[in-house]
């Protein structure tokens, strides 16, 4: 299988969110994979060069300075065809969901979203992926030799360091459509690790009342652990936390080593986004909250009392 990995970029910089897709390629096609990174004056390309890819292709063009699917899709399709790629792959994110399905449409290729496993059987690809809000796992068979895939980050992990890959500057195709324009991006950052990449995630629910309280208690505990902050849909909907922090079916899927759920009841939709975490801690006043059914360690207590205690304890012991 010849794999083309589409690196995640914001148009200016390569994102580490690309790494699970590289881990996928190392496992499924270790000798024949190429990485394509698209943008303008792209930085951080060296993040991609130590994993044994045959080449890292970079396409730089002013029309590609922002990650618009309408503009990037023809570039991906062009290089997929030129390289004779059997599979076009990226880590599941909003970037790749937006872009790769458009690429599949351009190439009339079948697509598998958010896969957690892939095998070959009787000349067919057989993949597993979560369906029905991750309540079930579906097995899918794909006919034909070409496929577009997004791969679920937590299922594929990090790639192994391997031989260095040459970086090759590649031309942008001449016919980039420029109807869609990028205007702005609000939010993100804040100096904390990325939610989907973090080793520790601390999430809060609606009982956190308001943005200041949420930041003080959830942000404070996350900072004591060097972790990222997440939130439930209820917390986001009531304006306590920004949208991009939402963990769950309609938000992000995370699988950190440690997930601490504070005043999170544990709806099916929230569990869909975090139940693959290695260790789950739940802090909740309601001993019957469903979150306790998936938690490795449960503490039935008032968050306003125990979260400051926990934060202090962690700070003082230097964790």
């Amino acid at each position: 299988m010849k794999v083309l990995i589409v690196a995640e970029t914001d148009g200016g910089r390569v994102s580490e969110k690309t790494l699970p897709a590289i881990a996928f390629a190392q496992q499924k096609s270790p000798e024949t994979f190429t990485i394509l990174a698209i943008g303008d004056n792209l930085q951080g390309v060296e993040m991609l060069t130590g994993y044994g890819a045959q080449a890292v292709l970079t396409v730089n063009h002013p029309a590609l300075a922002k990650p618009l699917a309408e503009r990037y899709a023809p570039v991906v399709a062009h290089y997929a065809q030129q390289l004779g790629a059997d599979a076009i792959v990226a880590t599941t994110t909003t970037f790749s969901r937006d872009l790769l399905a458009r690429v599949a449409g351009l190439l009339d290729a079948p697509m598998l979203s958010d896969i957690t496993a892939l095998e070959s059987a009787n000349g067919k690809l057989v993949a597993k992926r979560p369906i029905y809000s991750a309540n079930l796992i579906g097995t899918f068979e794909v006919e034909g030799s070409h496929v577009v895939m997004t791969v679920r980050g937590p299922a594929w992990g990090k790639p192994e360091p391997k031989g260095a890959s040459p970086v090759q500057n590649a031309e942008a195709p001449a016919d980039i459509p420029t109807r869609s324009e990028w205007l702005s991006l609000q939010g993100g950052g804040g100096g904390r690790p990325d939610l989907t990449q973090a080793r520790v995630v601390v999430s809060g629910g609606r009982p956190l009342k308001d943005p200041e309280t949420f930041e003080k208690y959830i942000g404070g505990l996350a900072d004591a652990l060097g972790g990222a902050v997440g939130a439930t849909r209820a917390a986001v909907d009531s304006g306590i936390a920004p949208n991009e922090l939402q963990v769950g079916q309609t938000g992000k899927t995370v699988a950190p080593e440690l997930y601490i759920a504070v005043a999170v009841s544990g709806s099916v939709q929230h569990l869909a986004g975090m139940k693959d975490s290695k260790v789950i801690v739940a802090i909740n006043t309601d001993p019957e909250a469903p979150i306790f059914q998936v938690a490795d360690y449960g503490l039935v207590a008032d968050l306003y009392q125990v979260v400051p205690e926990l934060t202090e304890l962690l700070k003082n012991s230097g964790s």
Partner: protein, 249 residues
């Protein structure tokens, strides 16, 4: 301005879903069905655009068996002007659905097409983008705010990095995310009125579309269950266990 909205018949989002006895599909006995919630949000947005005087006609389209008429009647009751069912009992993959919708689009020539970002059964999140590619139209996925002005759409999108705003000329394909709006409850008068609104039934062949499904669901299973762990009595015990037993801090 004419708006085309696609609606899919899916299991009710609050229904309990489990594998069937052979593990080849879900158990569909007595399963309550509904309009895909994200499609419902797309439809609500189209109806609001009509109420605001920005759109003149809202057309709902569904693909599926005769039973999908039920979801189209719901769309008509919410406020769509007419409905089209592309009737087929085949199980279609996303590219096939996109090809049928592209043919409906070419027949209807709308100025805007709205749809849910994904259907809550297969959770693929593919059809809108494939459709935009087939029709060579601009796309905006994960929309949480749509402003239509002077023949263009300005769309706020919920991305992993925050709210991104993009603008594109119409026609375009826009897919709805959760926070775009809260769909209305269907009023009884709407249900009564919906009975007299036109619901046309056609087939993929009528549209000149030949579908070829290449992605097939062959097996359905429950994910490995996570077992409940232990209760701790205070933060000191919690920190000790995280450090000595789980070794994650």
């Amino acid at each position: 301005m004419k708006i085309l909205v696609s609606v899919k018949r899916v299991p009710d989002p609050y229904a309990k879903i489990s594998p069937n006895a052979t593990g080849t599909d879900i158990n569909r006995d007595g399963l309550q069905m509904a309009v895909n919630p994200f499609d419902e949000i797309a439809l609500e947005e189209a109806i609001r655009l009509k109420e605001a005087g920005k759109a003149t006609e809202v057309v709902a389209v569904s693909i599926g068996g005769a039973e999908s008429q039920e979801q189209l009647r719901t769309a008509l009751a919410m406020g769509a002007d007419r409905a089209i069912l592309v009737q087929t009992d085949e199980t279609l993959d996303a590219p096939s659905v996109a090809k049928i919708l592209a043919a409906v689009y070419r027949r209807e020539q709308p100025h805007l097409m709205l749809m849910g970002k994904q259907a809550i059964d297969m959770d693929e999140n593919q059809v809108g983008q494939m459709l935009a590619a087939i029709l060579d139209l601009p796309q905006a996925t994960f929309a949480s705010k749509i402003t239509i002005e002077n023949g263009s759409a300005t769309v706020e999108r919920e991305t992993d990095n925050g709210i991104e705003t993009i603008r594109m000329p119409l026609p375009a394909i826009i897919t709805a995310d959760l926070r775009l709006n809260e769909p209305r409850y269907v009023a009884l008068t709407g249900i009564v009125r919906a009975r007299s609104k036109p619901l046309e039934t056609i087939t993929p062949a009528d549209l000149g579309v030949q579908t070829r499904t290449r992605v097939r669901l062959t097996q359905v299973e429950a994910p490995p269950a996570r077992k409940a762990g232990k209760r701790v009595s205070d933060v000191h015990e919690l920190v000790r266990l995280l450090r000595e037993e789980a070794r994650v801090i």
